[in-house]
Protein backbone atom coordinates (compact mmCIF):
# COMPACT_ATOMS: atom_id res chain seq x y z
CA UNK A 1 0.00 0.00 0.00
CA UNK A 2 2.96 2.28 0.63
CA UNK A 3 5.85 3.30 -1.58
CA UNK A 4 9.23 1.95 -0.45
CA UNK A 5 11.25 4.79 1.06
CA UNK A 6 14.42 2.97 1.99
CA UNK A 7 17.54 4.92 1.12
CA UNK A 8 21.09 5.47 2.34
CA UNK A 9 21.98 7.92 5.10
CA UNK A 10 24.01 9.88 2.59
CA UNK A 11 21.09 10.31 0.22
CA UNK A 12 18.52 10.97 2.95
CA UNK A 13 20.58 13.81 4.41
CA UNK A 14 21.65 15.15 1.01
CA UNK A 15 18.09 15.35 -0.22
CA UNK A 16 16.14 16.25 2.89
CA UNK A 17 18.39 18.50 5.01
CA UNK A 18 19.07 21.88 3.44
CA UNK A 19 21.30 24.75 4.54
CA UNK A 20 19.37 27.10 6.80
CA UNK A 21 16.84 24.44 7.86
CA UNK A 22 15.45 23.95 11.32
CA UNK A 23 16.41 20.38 12.17
CA UNK A 24 15.17 18.35 15.12
CA UNK A 25 17.05 15.15 15.95
CA UNK A 26 14.84 14.04 18.82
CA UNK A 27 15.06 11.24 21.38
CA UNK A 28 15.23 11.92 25.12
CA UNK A 29 18.46 10.14 26.18
CA UNK A 30 17.13 7.10 24.23
CA UNK A 31 17.47 6.64 20.45
CA UNK A 32 19.58 9.72 19.73
CA UNK A 33 20.55 9.45 16.09
CA UNK A 34 24.27 10.20 16.14
CA UNK A 35 24.61 8.61 12.69
CA UNK A 36 22.42 11.31 11.14
CA UNK A 37 24.21 14.07 13.02
CA UNK A 38 27.55 12.83 11.77
CA UNK A 39 26.28 12.66 8.20
CA UNK A 40 25.07 16.28 8.47
CA UNK A 41 28.59 17.22 9.64
CA UNK A 42 30.17 15.17 6.88
CA UNK A 43 28.08 16.93 4.24
CA UNK A 44 29.08 20.30 5.76
CA UNK A 45 25.54 21.64 6.03
CA UNK A 46 25.45 25.25 7.21
CA UNK A 47 23.33 27.74 9.16
CA UNK A 48 21.09 25.10 10.69
CA UNK A 49 18.80 25.86 13.58
CA UNK A 50 19.04 22.81 15.81
CA UNK A 51 16.00 22.00 17.94
CA UNK A 52 16.09 19.41 20.71
CA UNK A 53 15.11 19.26 24.38
CA UNK A 54 18.58 18.15 25.41
CA UNK A 55 21.28 19.08 22.87
CA UNK A 56 23.50 16.28 24.24
CA UNK A 57 26.85 15.31 22.67
CA UNK A 58 25.51 15.11 19.16
CA UNK A 59 24.61 18.80 19.01
CA UNK A 60 27.88 19.70 20.74
CA UNK A 61 29.68 17.88 17.93
CA UNK A 62 27.52 19.53 15.28
CA UNK A 63 28.16 22.95 16.80
CA UNK A 64 31.89 22.18 16.99
CA UNK A 65 31.72 21.26 13.30
CA UNK A 66 30.14 24.59 12.42
CA UNK A 67 26.82 23.42 11.01
CA UNK A 68 24.63 25.41 13.39
CA UNK A 69 23.78 29.07 13.89
CA UNK A 70 21.05 28.63 16.50
CA UNK A 71 19.80 26.28 19.22
CA UNK A 72 16.22 25.78 20.41
CA UNK A 73 16.40 23.74 23.61
CA UNK A 74 15.50 23.18 27.25
CA UNK A 75 18.53 21.54 28.88
CA UNK A 76 22.11 21.93 27.83
CA UNK A 77 24.47 19.30 29.12
CA UNK A 78 26.39 16.07 28.88
CA UNK A 79 24.02 13.91 30.97
CA UNK A 80 25.71 12.58 34.06
CA UNK A 81 29.05 14.09 33.06
CA UNK A 82 28.96 17.89 32.86
CA UNK A 83 28.79 20.67 30.32
CA UNK A 84 28.74 20.84 26.54
CA UNK A 85 31.91 22.76 25.90
CA UNK A 86 31.73 23.38 22.15
CA UNK A 87 28.35 25.00 22.70
CA UNK A 88 29.48 26.94 25.77
CA UNK A 89 32.44 28.29 23.80
CA UNK A 90 29.97 30.03 21.57
CA UNK A 91 27.92 31.47 24.45
CA UNK A 92 30.18 32.53 27.32
CA UNK A 93 31.76 36.02 27.21
CA UNK A 94 35.35 35.10 27.90
CA UNK A 95 35.27 32.06 25.66
CA UNK A 96 33.86 34.11 22.81
CA UNK A 97 36.54 36.75 23.31
CA UNK A 98 39.24 34.09 23.37
CA UNK A 99 38.01 31.98 20.45
CA UNK A 100 36.66 34.73 18.25
CA UNK A 101 33.81 32.42 17.23
CA UNK A 102 30.38 33.71 16.19
CA UNK A 103 27.93 33.69 19.09
CA UNK A 104 25.32 30.95 18.91
CA UNK A 105 21.73 32.19 18.94
CA UNK A 106 19.70 30.64 21.74
CA UNK A 107 15.97 30.14 22.12
CA UNK A 108 15.35 28.57 25.48
CA UNK A 109 12.36 26.83 27.11
CA UNK A 110 11.74 24.22 29.78
CA UNK A 111 11.14 20.56 28.92
CA UNK A 112 7.37 20.90 29.04
CA UNK A 113 7.65 24.09 27.00
CA UNK A 114 9.56 22.26 24.26
CA UNK A 115 7.12 19.35 24.35
CA UNK A 116 4.25 21.83 24.15
CA UNK A 117 5.89 23.50 21.16
CA UNK A 118 6.14 20.23 19.25
CA UNK A 119 2.60 19.31 20.28
CA UNK A 120 1.24 22.62 18.98
CA UNK A 121 3.26 22.15 15.80
CA UNK A 122 1.93 18.63 15.30
CA UNK A 123 -1.66 19.65 15.99
CA UNK A 124 -1.55 22.95 14.03
CA UNK A 125 -2.49 24.81 17.17
CA UNK A 126 -1.52 28.49 17.26
CA UNK A 127 -0.06 28.04 20.75
CA UNK A 128 0.14 25.57 23.63
CA UNK A 129 -0.80 26.72 27.15
CA UNK A 130 1.00 25.52 30.27
CA UNK A 131 1.24 26.46 33.93
CA UNK A 132 4.99 27.06 33.94
CA UNK A 133 7.09 30.26 33.83
CA UNK A 134 5.35 32.51 36.37
CA UNK A 135 7.87 33.89 38.83
CA UNK A 136 10.79 32.91 36.62
CA UNK A 137 13.11 34.92 34.36
CA UNK A 138 12.46 32.67 31.36
CA UNK A 139 9.82 34.89 29.67
CA UNK A 140 12.25 37.79 29.97
CA UNK A 141 15.01 35.71 28.35
CA UNK A 142 12.67 34.45 25.63
CA UNK A 143 9.95 36.84 24.46
CA UNK A 144 8.25 34.00 22.56
CA UNK A 145 6.98 32.76 25.92
CA UNK A 146 3.80 34.82 26.22
CA UNK A 147 0.77 35.23 28.42
CA UNK A 148 -2.64 34.07 27.28
CA UNK A 149 -5.84 34.87 29.13
CA UNK A 150 -8.09 31.93 30.02
CA UNK A 151 -11.60 32.52 28.66
CA UNK A 152 -13.03 31.01 31.85
CA UNK A 153 -12.12 33.90 34.12
CA UNK A 154 -9.36 32.07 35.96
CA UNK A 155 -6.55 34.38 34.92
CA UNK A 156 -3.64 34.14 32.52
CA UNK A 157 -1.28 31.26 31.86
CA UNK A 158 1.83 31.22 29.73
CA UNK A 159 1.89 29.80 26.23
CA UNK A 160 4.56 28.61 23.84
CA UNK A 161 4.34 28.90 20.05
CA UNK A 162 4.18 25.92 17.68
CA UNK A 163 7.50 24.50 16.51
CA UNK A 164 7.48 23.12 12.98
CA UNK A 165 10.92 21.80 12.05
CA UNK A 166 11.81 21.60 8.39
CA UNK A 167 13.17 18.14 9.13
CA UNK A 168 12.74 15.81 12.07
CA UNK A 169 15.08 12.84 12.35
CA UNK A 170 14.07 9.95 14.58
CA UNK A 171 15.91 6.76 15.43
CA UNK A 172 13.78 3.68 16.14
CA UNK A 173 14.01 -0.03 16.75
CA UNK A 174 12.19 -0.94 13.56
CA UNK A 175 10.17 0.21 10.56
CA UNK A 176 8.81 -1.31 7.39
CA UNK A 177 9.81 -0.14 3.92
CA UNK A 178 6.89 2.28 3.88
CA UNK A 179 8.17 4.06 6.98
CA UNK A 180 5.69 2.72 9.51
CA UNK A 181 7.81 2.97 12.64
CA UNK A 182 7.69 1.25 16.02
CA UNK A 183 9.43 2.14 19.25
CA UNK A 184 9.42 0.69 22.75
CA UNK A 185 11.08 1.96 25.87
CA UNK A 186 11.27 5.74 26.33
CA UNK A 187 9.13 7.56 23.78
CA UNK A 188 10.30 11.10 24.53
CA UNK A 189 8.54 13.46 22.13
CA UNK A 190 9.55 11.84 18.85
CA UNK A 191 5.95 11.37 17.77
CA UNK A 192 5.12 15.03 18.30
CA UNK A 193 8.37 16.19 16.67
CA UNK A 194 7.72 14.00 13.63
CA UNK A 195 4.11 15.10 13.12
CA UNK A 196 5.24 18.71 13.57
CA UNK A 197 7.82 18.50 10.78
CA UNK A 198 7.65 19.23 7.07
CA UNK A 199 9.93 16.26 6.31
CA UNK A 200 10.71 13.16 8.37
CA UNK A 201 13.69 10.81 8.27
CA UNK A 202 13.43 7.57 10.20
CA UNK A 203 16.62 5.67 10.98
CA UNK A 204 16.15 2.11 12.22
CA UNK A 205 18.05 -0.72 13.74
CA UNK A 206 16.04 -3.18 11.68
CA UNK A 207 13.91 -3.12 8.55
CA UNK A 208 10.97 -5.46 9.05
CA UNK A 209 8.20 -6.76 6.90
CA UNK A 210 4.96 -4.82 6.94
CA UNK A 211 3.33 -7.85 8.58
CA UNK A 212 5.47 -7.38 11.72
CA UNK A 213 4.17 -3.82 12.07
CA UNK A 214 0.58 -4.82 11.34
CA UNK A 215 0.71 -7.61 13.94
CA UNK A 216 0.99 -4.97 16.71
CA UNK A 217 -0.42 -1.64 15.50
CA UNK A 218 -0.49 -0.12 19.02
CA UNK A 219 3.33 0.02 18.97
CA UNK A 220 3.47 2.24 15.89
CA UNK A 221 4.48 5.78 16.82
CA UNK A 222 4.97 7.22 13.34
CA UNK A 223 2.93 6.24 10.27
CA UNK A 224 4.69 5.92 6.92
CA UNK A 225 2.33 8.63 5.69
CA UNK A 226 4.55 11.36 7.14
CA UNK A 227 7.91 9.65 6.51
CA UNK A 228 10.10 10.72 3.57
CA UNK A 229 13.05 8.38 4.04
CA UNK A 230 13.84 5.18 5.91
CA UNK A 231 17.52 4.58 6.60
CA UNK A 232 18.62 1.21 7.95
CA UNK A 233 21.57 1.92 10.21
CA UNK A 234 22.17 -0.59 13.00
CA UNK A 235 24.01 0.96 15.97
CA UNK A 236 23.16 4.37 14.51
CA UNK A 237 22.30 5.69 17.96
CA UNK A 238 25.70 4.84 19.48
CA UNK A 239 26.92 6.17 21.98
CA UNK A 240 23.31 6.67 23.13
CA UNK A 241 21.24 3.51 23.34
CA UNK A 242 18.40 1.49 21.92
CA UNK A 243 16.10 -0.28 24.37
CA UNK A 244 16.58 -4.01 24.03
CA UNK A 245 19.41 -3.68 21.49
CA UNK A 246 22.31 -1.91 23.20
CA UNK A 247 23.32 0.11 26.21
CA UNK A 248 24.63 3.64 26.45
CA UNK A 249 28.39 3.70 25.86
CA UNK A 250 29.24 5.78 28.87
CA UNK A 251 32.96 5.84 28.15
CA UNK A 252 32.22 7.86 25.06
CA UNK A 253 30.32 10.46 27.12
CA UNK A 254 33.23 10.68 29.55
CA UNK A 255 35.83 10.85 26.78
CA UNK A 256 34.05 13.69 25.00
CA UNK A 257 34.42 15.98 28.02
CA UNK A 258 38.19 16.68 27.71
CA UNK A 259 38.06 16.59 23.91
CA UNK A 260 35.28 19.14 23.74
CA UNK A 261 37.06 21.51 26.11
CA UNK A 262 39.73 21.97 23.48
CA UNK A 263 38.91 23.45 20.09
CA UNK A 264 41.80 21.73 18.32
CA UNK A 265 41.09 18.37 19.92
CA UNK A 266 37.43 18.65 18.90
CA UNK A 267 38.42 19.39 15.32
CA UNK A 268 40.84 16.49 15.32
CA UNK A 269 38.16 14.18 16.69
CA UNK A 270 35.74 15.25 13.98
CA UNK A 271 38.38 14.70 11.33
CA UNK A 272 39.17 11.26 12.63
CA UNK A 273 35.67 9.97 13.47
CA UNK A 274 33.43 11.81 11.02
CA UNK A 275 35.16 13.41 8.04
CA UNK A 276 37.73 10.64 7.89
CA UNK A 277 35.10 7.92 7.61
CA UNK A 278 32.62 7.40 4.83
CA UNK A 279 29.72 6.30 6.98
CA UNK A 280 28.44 4.31 9.91
CA UNK A 281 29.90 0.96 8.87
CA UNK A 282 33.41 2.42 8.94
CA UNK A 283 32.66 4.07 12.30
CA UNK A 284 31.62 0.73 13.79
CA UNK A 285 34.65 -1.00 12.41
CA UNK A 286 36.88 1.67 13.92
CA UNK A 287 35.03 1.39 17.23
CA UNK A 288 35.78 -2.31 17.32
CA UNK A 289 33.71 -5.44 17.69
CA UNK A 290 34.59 -5.95 21.36
CA UNK A 291 33.39 -2.56 22.43
CA UNK A 292 30.16 -3.04 20.50
CA UNK A 293 29.60 -6.50 21.92
CA UNK A 294 30.04 -5.24 25.49
CA UNK A 295 26.98 -3.02 25.09
CA UNK A 296 24.47 -5.81 24.44
CA UNK A 297 21.91 -6.32 27.22
CA UNK A 298 20.48 -9.60 28.38
CA UNK A 299 16.99 -10.61 27.24
CA UNK A 300 13.77 -9.23 28.75
CA UNK A 301 10.87 -10.33 26.53
CA UNK A 302 7.60 -8.38 26.55
CA UNK A 303 5.24 -11.32 26.25
CA UNK A 304 2.55 -11.02 23.62
CA UNK A 305 -1.11 -10.10 23.40
CA UNK A 306 -3.90 -11.23 21.09
CA UNK A 307 -5.65 -8.74 18.80
CA UNK A 308 -8.16 -11.32 17.63
CA UNK A 309 -9.11 -12.14 14.04
CA UNK A 310 -12.54 -10.65 13.27
CA UNK A 311 -13.91 -11.87 9.95
Amino acid sequence: MTTPKVTSMHDAIAELVRDGDTVAIEGFTHLICFAAGHEIIRQRKRDLTLARLTPDLIYDQMVAAGVARKLIFSWLGNPGVGGLHAIRRRIETEELARSGETPLELEEYSHFGMVGRYTAGAARLPFFPLRSYFETDLPRANPLIRLVESPYGDGPVYAVPPLRPDVTIVHAQRADAGGNTQVWGLLGCQKEAAFAAERVVVVVEELVDESVIRADPNRTIIPGLIVDAVVVEPWGAHPSYVQGAYDRDNRFYLDWDPISRDQAASAAWLDEWVHGLDGRAAYLEKLGADRIASLRPGPAPSGQVDYGAYR
Binding site: M1, R124, L125, N180, P217, P223, I226, G308, Y310
Partner: protein, 259 residues
Protein backbone atom coordinates in the same frame (compact mmCIF):
# COMPACT_ATOMS: atom_id res chain seq x y z
CA UNK B 1 -34.09 3.19 -12.39
CA UNK B 2 -33.33 -0.06 -14.12
CA UNK B 3 -33.63 -3.44 -12.50
CA UNK B 4 -29.92 -4.03 -12.78
CA UNK B 5 -28.84 -2.01 -9.76
CA UNK B 6 -30.27 -0.19 -6.74
CA UNK B 7 -30.12 3.52 -6.01
CA UNK B 8 -27.76 2.78 -3.14
CA UNK B 9 -25.45 0.87 -5.41
CA UNK B 10 -25.41 3.79 -7.82
CA UNK B 11 -24.54 6.15 -4.95
CA UNK B 12 -21.75 3.90 -3.73
CA UNK B 13 -20.28 3.52 -7.20
CA UNK B 14 -20.50 7.23 -7.99
CA UNK B 15 -18.80 8.15 -4.70
CA UNK B 16 -16.09 5.53 -5.18
CA UNK B 17 -15.21 6.87 -8.61
CA UNK B 18 -14.82 10.39 -7.19
CA UNK B 19 -12.06 8.99 -4.96
CA UNK B 20 -9.78 8.31 -7.94
CA UNK B 21 -6.24 9.38 -7.15
CA UNK B 22 -6.93 10.15 -3.49
CA UNK B 23 -4.53 8.95 -0.84
CA UNK B 24 -5.83 9.30 2.73
CA UNK B 25 -9.49 8.94 3.49
CA UNK B 26 -11.39 9.43 6.74
CA UNK B 27 -14.02 6.71 6.57
CA UNK B 28 -17.55 6.88 7.88
CA UNK B 29 -19.72 3.81 8.46
CA UNK B 30 -22.42 2.63 6.11
CA UNK B 31 -22.43 3.84 2.52
CA UNK B 32 -19.13 5.79 2.78
CA UNK B 33 -17.40 2.71 4.15
CA UNK B 34 -18.50 0.60 1.18
CA UNK B 35 -17.67 3.39 -1.25
CA UNK B 36 -14.15 3.76 0.16
CA UNK B 37 -13.50 0.05 0.10
CA UNK B 38 -14.82 -0.15 -3.45
CA UNK B 39 -12.50 2.69 -4.49
CA UNK B 40 -9.55 0.89 -2.91
CA UNK B 41 -10.33 -2.14 -5.06
CA UNK B 42 -10.83 -0.09 -8.24
CA UNK B 43 -9.79 3.54 -8.80
CA UNK B 44 -7.65 4.22 -5.72
CA UNK B 45 -5.60 1.13 -4.78
CA UNK B 46 -3.22 3.16 -2.58
CA UNK B 47 -5.99 4.62 -0.46
CA UNK B 48 -5.17 4.60 3.25
CA UNK B 49 -8.21 4.19 5.50
CA UNK B 50 -8.41 6.31 8.63
CA UNK B 51 -11.09 5.78 11.27
CA UNK B 52 -11.85 8.49 13.83
CA UNK B 53 -11.74 5.82 16.55
CA UNK B 54 -7.95 6.02 16.19
CA UNK B 55 -6.86 3.78 13.32
CA UNK B 56 -4.59 4.55 10.39
CA UNK B 57 -3.93 2.14 7.54
CA UNK B 58 -6.86 -0.07 8.39
CA UNK B 59 -7.57 -3.28 6.47
CA UNK B 60 -10.93 -4.45 7.72
CA UNK B 61 -11.44 -8.14 7.02
CA UNK B 62 -15.22 -7.61 6.99
CA UNK B 63 -17.57 -4.66 6.63
CA UNK B 64 -17.26 -2.83 9.97
CA UNK B 65 -20.49 -2.78 11.97
CA UNK B 66 -19.58 0.49 13.62
CA UNK B 67 -16.91 3.14 13.36
CA UNK B 68 -14.94 1.27 16.01
CA UNK B 69 -15.38 -2.36 15.00
CA UNK B 70 -12.44 -4.56 16.15
CA UNK B 71 -11.88 -5.62 12.55
CA UNK B 72 -10.55 -2.15 11.73
CA UNK B 73 -7.77 -2.62 14.31
CA UNK B 74 -6.43 -6.11 13.64
CA UNK B 75 -3.81 -5.84 10.91
CA UNK B 76 -3.84 -2.02 10.77
CA UNK B 77 -0.68 0.02 10.42
CA UNK B 78 -1.17 2.22 13.49
CA UNK B 79 -3.59 2.61 16.38
CA UNK B 80 -3.51 5.90 18.27
CA UNK B 81 -5.42 7.69 20.99
CA UNK B 82 -8.31 9.84 19.79
CA UNK B 83 -6.37 12.91 20.88
CA UNK B 84 -3.61 12.01 18.45
CA UNK B 85 -6.03 11.06 15.69
CA UNK B 86 -7.89 14.36 15.85
CA UNK B 87 -4.85 16.54 16.63
CA UNK B 88 -1.99 15.00 14.64
CA UNK B 89 -3.85 13.46 11.70
CA UNK B 90 -7.00 15.51 11.15
CA UNK B 91 -6.24 19.00 12.47
CA UNK B 92 -2.64 18.59 11.24
CA UNK B 93 -4.01 18.35 7.71
CA UNK B 94 -3.09 14.79 6.75
CA UNK B 95 -6.56 13.76 5.61
CA UNK B 96 -7.30 14.17 1.91
CA UNK B 97 -10.98 13.25 1.92
CA UNK B 98 -13.49 13.09 4.73
CA UNK B 99 -17.03 11.78 4.40
CA UNK B 100 -20.00 13.41 6.03
CA UNK B 101 -23.65 12.55 6.24
CA UNK B 102 -26.36 15.18 6.58
CA UNK B 103 -29.92 15.46 7.81
CA UNK B 104 -30.13 18.89 6.20
CA UNK B 105 -27.83 20.57 3.71
CA UNK B 106 -28.06 24.00 2.08
CA UNK B 107 -26.81 25.27 -1.27
CA UNK B 108 -23.42 26.17 0.24
CA UNK B 109 -22.93 22.69 1.65
CA UNK B 110 -23.51 23.79 5.24
CA UNK B 111 -24.70 20.74 7.15
CA UNK B 112 -27.06 20.07 10.02
CA UNK B 113 -26.79 16.85 12.00
CA UNK B 114 -27.85 18.30 15.36
CA UNK B 115 -31.54 19.16 15.64
CA UNK B 116 -34.64 19.59 13.49
CA UNK B 117 -36.71 22.52 14.72
CA UNK B 118 -36.02 26.11 15.64
CA UNK B 119 -35.37 25.57 19.33
CA UNK B 120 -32.04 23.84 20.01
CA UNK B 121 -33.08 23.04 23.57
CA UNK B 122 -36.49 21.61 22.70
CA UNK B 123 -36.23 20.34 19.15
CA UNK B 124 -38.77 18.46 17.10
CA UNK B 125 -36.16 15.82 16.34
CA UNK B 126 -32.90 15.33 18.16
CA UNK B 127 -30.19 14.11 15.78
CA UNK B 128 -26.77 12.68 16.76
CA UNK B 129 -24.89 15.99 16.81
CA UNK B 130 -21.42 16.68 15.48
CA UNK B 131 -19.30 13.76 16.58
CA UNK B 132 -16.20 14.49 14.57
CA UNK B 133 -18.16 16.05 11.69
CA UNK B 134 -17.45 19.71 12.40
CA UNK B 135 -13.73 18.83 12.63
CA UNK B 136 -13.78 16.80 9.42
CA UNK B 137 -15.63 19.60 7.62
CA UNK B 138 -12.86 22.13 8.22
CA UNK B 139 -9.76 19.94 8.33
CA UNK B 140 -10.13 17.32 5.61
CA UNK B 141 -8.76 18.74 2.36
CA UNK B 142 -11.96 17.73 0.61
CA UNK B 143 -15.34 16.79 1.99
CA UNK B 144 -17.61 14.26 0.30
CA UNK B 145 -21.26 13.91 1.27
CA UNK B 146 -23.38 10.86 0.48
CA UNK B 147 -27.10 11.24 1.22
CA UNK B 148 -30.53 10.66 -0.19
CA UNK B 149 -32.09 13.87 -1.37
CA UNK B 150 -35.55 15.16 -0.57
CA UNK B 151 -37.26 18.47 -0.02
CA UNK B 152 -36.76 17.88 3.73
CA UNK B 153 -33.00 17.43 3.44
CA UNK B 154 -32.00 19.83 0.64
CA UNK B 155 -33.31 23.00 2.22
CA UNK B 156 -33.05 26.74 1.74
CA UNK B 157 -32.21 27.23 5.41
CA UNK B 158 -30.84 24.56 7.74
CA UNK B 159 -32.09 24.59 11.35
CA UNK B 160 -28.64 24.30 12.94
CA UNK B 161 -25.21 24.62 11.40
CA UNK B 162 -23.20 21.65 12.73
CA UNK B 163 -20.52 21.60 10.03
CA UNK B 164 -19.53 24.55 7.87
CA UNK B 165 -19.66 24.26 4.09
CA UNK B 166 -18.91 27.41 2.10
CA UNK B 167 -20.38 29.96 4.49
CA UNK B 168 -21.02 33.29 2.77
CA UNK B 169 -20.35 31.79 -0.65
CA UNK B 170 -17.21 30.98 -2.61
CA UNK B 171 -14.75 33.87 -2.19
CA UNK B 172 -15.94 34.71 1.29
CA UNK B 173 -15.68 31.08 2.43
CA UNK B 174 -12.15 30.86 1.07
CA UNK B 175 -11.18 33.98 3.01
CA UNK B 176 -12.76 32.69 6.22
CA UNK B 177 -10.97 29.35 5.84
CA UNK B 178 -7.65 31.13 5.37
CA UNK B 179 -8.25 33.40 8.35
CA UNK B 180 -9.05 30.46 10.61
CA UNK B 181 -6.08 28.43 9.43
CA UNK B 182 -8.26 25.55 8.27
CA UNK B 183 -6.68 22.90 6.08
CA UNK B 184 -9.68 22.11 3.97
CA UNK B 185 -11.25 23.52 0.87
CA UNK B 186 -14.67 22.52 2.14
CA UNK B 187 -17.32 20.37 0.47
CA UNK B 188 -16.43 19.27 -3.02
CA UNK B 189 -18.69 16.36 -3.91
CA UNK B 190 -22.28 15.52 -3.03
CA UNK B 191 -23.52 12.17 -4.23
CA UNK B 192 -27.24 11.47 -3.91
CA UNK B 193 -29.67 8.92 -5.23
CA UNK B 194 -30.37 11.27 -8.14
CA UNK B 195 -27.06 12.69 -9.19
CA UNK B 196 -23.60 14.09 -8.53
CA UNK B 197 -23.05 17.67 -7.44
CA UNK B 198 -19.91 19.77 -7.20
CA UNK B 199 -19.53 23.38 -6.12
CA UNK B 200 -19.16 26.34 -8.46
CA UNK B 201 -17.03 29.45 -8.01
CA UNK B 202 -19.82 31.04 -5.96
CA UNK B 203 -19.45 28.13 -3.52
CA UNK B 204 -22.90 26.85 -4.54
CA UNK B 205 -23.93 23.32 -5.30
CA UNK B 206 -24.30 22.52 -8.99
CA UNK B 207 -25.79 19.41 -10.57
CA UNK B 208 -23.07 18.00 -12.81
CA UNK B 209 -24.30 14.50 -13.48
CA UNK B 210 -27.73 12.87 -13.42
CA UNK B 211 -27.94 9.20 -12.57
CA UNK B 212 -29.62 6.95 -15.15
CA UNK B 213 -33.41 7.33 -14.96
CA UNK B 214 -33.24 10.47 -12.77
CA UNK B 215 -34.66 13.68 -14.24
CA UNK B 216 -34.02 17.37 -13.70
CA UNK B 217 -37.67 17.72 -12.72
CA UNK B 218 -37.23 15.15 -9.98
CA UNK B 219 -34.12 16.98 -8.78
CA UNK B 220 -36.01 20.32 -8.69
CA UNK B 221 -38.86 18.76 -6.71
CA UNK B 222 -36.45 17.55 -4.06
CA UNK B 223 -34.42 20.72 -3.59
CA UNK B 224 -35.55 23.70 -1.53
CA UNK B 225 -33.77 26.28 -3.64
CA UNK B 226 -33.20 26.87 -7.35
CA UNK B 227 -30.47 24.33 -8.02
CA UNK B 228 -27.76 25.35 -10.48
CA UNK B 229 -27.26 22.92 -13.33
CA UNK B 230 -24.03 22.45 -15.29
CA UNK B 231 -24.27 23.73 -18.88
CA UNK B 232 -23.10 20.32 -20.05
CA UNK B 233 -25.03 18.04 -17.79
CA UNK B 234 -23.67 14.52 -17.90
CA UNK B 235 -25.34 11.20 -17.28
CA UNK B 236 -23.65 9.09 -14.64
CA UNK B 237 -22.36 5.89 -16.22
CA UNK B 238 -24.19 3.00 -14.55
CA UNK B 239 -22.28 0.62 -12.29
CA UNK B 240 -20.14 -1.86 -14.16
CA UNK B 241 -20.54 -5.56 -13.66
CA UNK B 242 -17.26 -5.64 -11.72
CA UNK B 243 -18.32 -2.78 -9.43
CA UNK B 244 -21.58 -4.59 -8.70
CA UNK B 245 -19.77 -7.84 -8.09
CA UNK B 246 -17.43 -6.22 -5.58
CA UNK B 247 -20.32 -4.66 -3.69
CA UNK B 248 -22.55 -7.70 -3.74
CA UNK B 249 -19.99 -10.44 -3.19
CA UNK B 250 -17.21 -8.83 -1.18
CA UNK B 251 -18.30 -5.63 0.50
CA UNK B 252 -21.93 -5.96 1.48
CA UNK B 253 -22.97 -9.54 0.84
CA UNK B 254 -25.93 -9.10 3.18
CA UNK B 255 -27.06 -6.04 1.22
CA UNK B 256 -27.48 -4.15 4.49
CA UNK B 257 -26.45 -0.81 3.03
CA UNK B 258 -26.65 -1.32 -0.69
CA UNK B 259 -30.17 -2.62 -1.18
Amino acid sequence: MTDAFTKSEMMIVAAARELAGQRVCFVGVGLPNIAVNLAKRTVAPDLELVYEAGVFGSRPARLPLSIGDPTIVTGATAVTSMFELFAFYLQRGLIDVGFLGAAQIDRFGNINTTVIGDDYERPTTRLPGSGGACEIAINARQVFVIMRQSARSFVERIDFRTSPGNPGGGADAARRRRDQGWNGSGPTVIVTDLGIYHFDERGEMRLDSLHPDATIEHVRQTVGWKMAVAPELRTTPPPTAEELRLIRVELDPGGVYSR
